[in-house]
Symmetry: C2
Subunit: 360 residues, 2 copies
Amino acid sequence: MRIDLGALAEPIVQAPMAGGVSTPALAAAVNAAGGLGFLAAGYKTAEAVSDDIRALRALTDRPFGVNIFAPPRPLTAGPRAAAEAGVAAYAGRLAHEAERYRVRLGEPRHDDDDFRAKVALVARERVPVVSATFGCPEPTVMDSLHEAGCDVWITVTSPHEAVVAEQAGADALVVQGLESGGHRGYFSDESAVDDLGLIVALRLIASRVKLPLIAAGGIADGRAVAAVLCAGAVAAQVGSALMLTPEAATSAPHRAALAGSGATRLTRAFSGRTARGIVNRFMTEHDASAPAAYPDVHHLTAPIRSAARAAGDQEAINLWAGQAHALAQAAPAGQIVRRLGAEARAAIAAVALRLGSPGA
Amino acid sequence: MRIDLGALAEPIVQAPMAGGVSTPALAAAVNAAGGLGFLAAGYKTAEAVSDDIRALRALTDRPFGVNIFAPPRPLTAGPRAAAEAGVAAYAGRLAHEAERYRVRLGEPRHDDDDFRAKVALVARERVPVVSATFGCPEPTVMDSLHEAGCDVWITVTSPHEAVVAEQAGADALVVQGLESGGHRGYFSDESAVDDLGLIVALRLIASRVKLPLIAAGGIADGRAVAAVLCAGAVAAQVGSALMLTPEAATSAPHRAALAGSGATRLTRAFSGRTARGIVNRFMTEHDASAPAAYPDVHHLTAPIRSAARAAGDQEAINLWAGQAHALAQAAPAGQIVRRLGAEARAAIAAVALRLGSPGA
């Protein structure tokens, strides 16, 4: 690994947060405060990502990361027909939502989010850290990124995925506990799994692989940062805790929901893939009916979510948030990164005092 | 609170582990190593608990705890009829299991596990710490325990339960993350909740109440102990990590399952109340059909579980285990408690070095 997370002034990695929240300004502010900023390539065109990289480089000369969605498994004829039938049934169910928000449902597509073009872009741009979510890219992709000098991080949720990613040549792993907001990084979203809490995920994975681990999920203050470092992570990835910053492009209704203490849960209702968000009407009404068909359902529901967002209506937006979102504070990102670091140091000092020295 | 957990030589509390695992020898060994040992009153008669207390006092002169199940809500006629119908249907489904293990199904009862007698016992015995699971005892019970000089700890799984327990006069809270093995301590098991990961549970609860917090769930090595202390706990409660000790009365088939890396999940199949165990045949086949009827279903399935245990058959036992059970080691309990403490100190020292001093 070329990027030494142990050398960052603050042990904080910004979570990518695709779907409009991440901005070059947010990544630059995290970098300036001593953390590692990230751009989210998901849902954007390669051209838009290229613009983001250019904008970020104008704001920082420090290393940064870009997150890319690994492509969904191409579907063969049988599964494709089944998925399409499931999506069609779900579309029927959502007709009244489209009417309510005066939009037409989106066209469901089983696309790969422009994966090849984005890989070519980050390699050409020699982006310092390229992280992948939803699976482990194939060997030729891993090789091309390594040849371009990129560190490749893979998001994992279980010891099994960690072992696969290590064998595939990952340079580090983003270990996602079930506390995290947004999509679960499962390599496959088809089976019912028992999601691991973050501390357990870190300890079980550390017992199986040798790679540096970045901890993600529910880390919203410095005590939690200190906790995951003790549990074996080299850095804490922070998402929700940065969503109320002025640098984030979080929508107004999403900000209002994050600032409350509403419960979160996992659902496929918005995108066809399991993700954690604050419970609202759309989730409650449609969760049980949503098929496992990503990104088809994402495209299907996009106009509804977009119209609700524009109308300031929290009840039909994917309000992605981690379990600790109620602890997020509205403050500049740099201030939050420095506060997390300071709180982590204070927590470690207090516990050191309680426990006494090693060997004592 | 009379027991100062901050003064324990090791920040380790033994989890109670009802159902046959806990023994006076285990609690005494944890005490001798500088932690706080616990007895489990659950499922035992008050007389048997009295014997355990006497046996433990012969082995240790340090403080210890006894855990009691708060009684289930008495059912009024309508809910009782519904619950009985659900249990009867489940019993029909389990007939072939009874046949397979050559037993008769147990008689389902909606009893209170001899709650009053156990409260009277621990008050009479002036047990230093009395913890409650499955809810918050009523005011007269809290008062009688306090008058007897007992510290009362309440098991909580959410900020809401924590606030209720604080208002009821709890002296400390056992904060149970979803990682934990055995029964979830929900005050009510009737609604679908989104269980919190342990770090998040600690941080959200610490933001709402002032009580000392004992962290429980998936803590199986010293790095995890250090993590929960950083996250604000005064001690770590450890269960699975002590189940392979010679002092624990864990059955042979249960030990074999714990030593493997089998996945765990939550289920009501064995007891009618949500609990985490290692996935096996009985859980897989009956989980979806099990009613929320505790302890009725516990009594119903007891003969099957007992026969399977005697036969060394893992597939029909409630293999309670936390998510980190694969990290449990077979070693004397005292050795494990000291190792957890030493590893925690080493983890804190390493992170302190990485982060530098507070204010630096």
